[in-house]
Amino acid sequence: MPNILKAVIDLFTYKPPQKFKAEEYSQDQSQSSENAEGNDSQENTSEEIDWQKILRQADDQQTRENNQVSGSAANTSKQAKDGAASTGRPAVVIRRRNRQKKGAGQGSQGAGIDERDIALIKNGMVAPNIAVNIEYVKQKFSVPKNQDIVIREFNVAKRIKAFLVFVDGMMDKTVINQFVLPQLMDTANFKDFSQEDILDYIIRNVISIYQVSRIKEYSKIIPQILNGVTALFIDGCNEALLIESRGFEKRSIEAPRTENVIRGPQEGFTENLRTNLSLLRKIIKSEKLITEILPVGNKNRINCALVYLDDTADPELVKEVKRRIRNIKYDFVESSGMLEQLLEDNPFMLFPQVISTERPDRAASFIMEGQVVIVCEGSPFVIAVPVTFFHLLHSSEDTMLRWQYGMFIRLTRFLGVLIASLVPGLWMALVQFHSEMIPTPLLLSILKMREAVPFPVVVEVLLMEVAFELIREGGIRVPGLIGQTLGIIGALILGQAAVAAGLVSPILIIIVAITGIGNFVIPNYSLAMAIRIIRFFFIFMGAVLGFYGISVGLTILLALTCSMKSFGVPFLAPFTPKTRRSSDLIVRKPLYKQPVTGNYLDTVSRRSGLYHKRGE
């Protein structure tokens, strides 16, 4: 009873919303990084690895080998195994058996698995005993079932047992065939080898591969293997050697498909992370360019790279981006498009809160301005944060052209946004509420044209707008070249026929067309989508209350837009709130007047409220 009462009271007491405070944030940050690591270890323990099975099978293998020498111990163990298979309660039995076996193993042979191996493998470390490692790897990758994991066992210099693990198809065969296996197997390479650290010897003298590293933890080895790296395990070593052998099929660099420019580089990102990073490096040759790779997705764990300039990007921003990426609890992150949705500040707002581009030059300019660029594996689009409304209207063309032309096309785009979002709504309002504003000769011709149209204006507008949306969506979904033809034919014929059939008035075709063209001007696809939706909102507002309705709509929409933040930066940032660096965002000035790396940080830190101001 008191519990119920408490719950009721709890329900009716007002709880202030938990505000995200800057002080808490920094603590939270440090905690979350700990958490992240904690998560990893937790995952390992929680994974359903049957340690006993691994140990038993490793033991089996050894005993089988030993069996050739003496058979008695093998017999007992075989019996044990049979027993285990026949009982209905395997887990319990196995544990019991194991306990026996440990004793037996230690008792009988002394060779086999010692406590140290067990301890190491249980903690996710590479055990010196190679049999344990093989079994562990097999178990991890469910090897007999999983057929493209290759475990190649061999002997190093005919003496030491070793095996290679890699994913078939993810690696470059020539690397293994020509530079790893032959050299490891060749005894001549090990002539000088005396009982020192064999891994070190191999790294220094045997394998002629450009990048190798020694790693102890399976938690780091396994993702690497999945990425295409080859892992070399050698008996007696408690480390594995990761050999860089990545080489998989990939698309070559092509011209960007969605962002065309007249003047400017014509290469675009591909689906390959490394290629994309190299494309960025190619443009920014700075030692300050940092690339941090973080896995994303609980299950698929694809890599995404954070790229930023160390001295330009706000450290708080970088921290925040990392925090958000680490805390993504989503099983399957497919591409940057999904990552974007998992990272953004306001999922309910219409406007995009990150900017995606497939142009390396554009991404590089974002980096130079202090933004953090997130390159996601498997996606030719990279995303940059934080972003403001004005970024979304930029194209790399703006800066590549002389400033007069750049400013002109940028203003054209602003106009395009206005037209695309407002024109149908204004038309509705004009025709239904404010017909006095139409010049009389034009009004008279509209009257004549509309005389045969049976619908009210709002139906007419919606009819055409929906038809236009259909054509546009159809044009994208229909494969290849047909798409373009479909668009043109659809628009032409539909419009012409609709007018001829007296369904719509010709002037409306102009309205719809100019709206569509205005929308095509918007360089950012997400923003264009948002504007397409907003257009309908304004049509409704214009249809119910004319210009007053549109004013109401504008007020609400723009106030909401003002309240939007992208990674703590207000969406209309350089304009309101005003920040120092605003020279390039709205109006272009001659290049020499606008240094590239201004105080972009200032935008981040000054008034967003989320970050501390630097130096305060």
């Binding site: 210009f547 007053y548 549109i550 004013s551 909401l560 207000p570 309101t576 709130p577």
Partner: protein, 362 residues
């Protein structure tokens, strides 16, 4: 205390100027012409001078108690109970003012644009906007008003430039209107035209420093006075005083006069955006201020629970006047002519009290 967010000076100036100007677009120029005839254009400057004095008092009061807003200062100076009364009075006047401005705006657009739409419908849509903007918060209202401010300023100037072909300078004569004394008295009484400037005292915490309060206050006073001066002068030059006395909404009439050839005429609907949006900012701002004071009075930590009930009060108040004549000649008139008591005299009393009792903020 309620988190209001911080914003810059330009945003604050924009929102205050818009709040001041929004109510002047409708019947006020008419009332001014009726009161002072041809002298309206400098009467607004007299009012501005008085308002500047009033604001100075408010500023000194705020300076004396840095980091506090006016309600807290009232509490600090008078103690909880009298302070409550003072703040409550301010809230009532602001709410009433919001309601009356709302009603006035609705009456005017009903006369000119929405002839058939029931007023409740228009009032309702404005109140819903006010509610939504209150949810979004003061910070973003201010930012939006900066965004809209530039556009509206441009529109306002374009309006007057287009109307300048109707300017006839003889219309400002006789220069003294109904006599200098009359003008001075009316100018003093109508100083509450700029009363909204003192709203800065309510959201003083949202500005960065106390110097910003000074800057914001005086700058917005100057801008508002300049705009009003231009507007009133333009109206005086366009309509002779007997004509000006007749017009319900002189500025709207100016917009409807504009006529450049067959193509560019009847454009007053375009200028509807100016008064629509300014009203859509001003009324939510007043509404939000009332919410702030109320939440302070009753120590409510969050505005959101009271955002829903307050519109009902606002709606009810706005429906009190039975007709436009009563609205203009009784409610709005007394609101304008005695608003200065609340806007300037209460802070003056508080300042005097604080000086006498030597109370000072930290």
């Amino acid at each position: 205390m309620v988190e209001q967010g911080k914003f810059g000076n330009k945003e604050a100036i924009a929102v205050l100027v818009i709040a001041c100007m929004a109510k002047e677009f409708f019947t006020d120029p008419n009332i001014i012409v009726r009161k002072v005839g041809t002298a309206g254009w400098y009467m607004v400057l007299i009012s501005a001078a008085v308002a500047a004095g009033g604001f100075t008092v408010v500023y000194f009061l705020l300076k004396r108690f840095p980091g506090k807003n006016i309600m807290e200062i009232y509490d600090a100076v008078f103690g909880r109970y009298i302070g409550f009364v003072f703040s409550f009075l301010l809230a009532v006047v602001l709410l009433f003012s919001a309601a009356m401005n709302l009603r006035e705006y609705v009456e005017i657009i009903k006369i000119y644009v929405f002839l058939k739409t029931p007023p409740v419908y228009l009032i309702g849509s404005l109140i819903v906007t006010a509610v939504i903007l209150s949810f979004i918060g003061l910070e973003n209202i201010a930012r939006y008003s900066k965004l809209a401010g530039y556009v509206m300023l441009a529109g306002f100037i374009i309006l007057l430039l287009l109307a300048s072909s109707f300017f006839r300078f003889y219309r400002i004569y006789p220069l003294l209107g109904y006599g200098l004394k009359n003008t001075l008295v009316q100018g003093f009484l109508r100083s509450s035209i700029y009363g909204e400037i003192t709203l800065v005292a309510i959201f003083a915490k949202s500005l960065h420093r106390i110097e910003d309060v000074r800057k914001v206050g005086y700058t917005s006073l100057i801008i508002a006075a300049a705009l009003l001066f231009i507007m009133q002068l333009g109206l005086t030059l366009i309509f002779t005083y007997p004509f000006g006395k007749e017009l319900t909404a002189p500025l709207y009439a100016v917009a409807s006069l504009i006529h450049y050839g067959a193509f560019f005429q009847r454009v007053e609907s375009l200028f509807l955006f100016i008064w629509n949006i300014s009203t859509l900012i001003a009324i939510p701002l007043l509404f939000y201020m009332v919410l702030l004071i109320y939440s302070h009075l009753f120590k409510i930590d969050d505005l959101r629970p009271i955002i829903i009930p307050f519109p009902v009060i606002l709606l009810t108040l706005s429906l009190i006047p039975s007709n436009i004549v009563e609205l203009v000649q009784f409610y709005i008139r007394y609101l304008r002519e005695f608003g200065w008591v609340v806007f300037y005299v209460l802070p003056a009393i508080a300042l005097a009290m604080a000086a006498l009792s030597k109370k000072k903020g930290a």
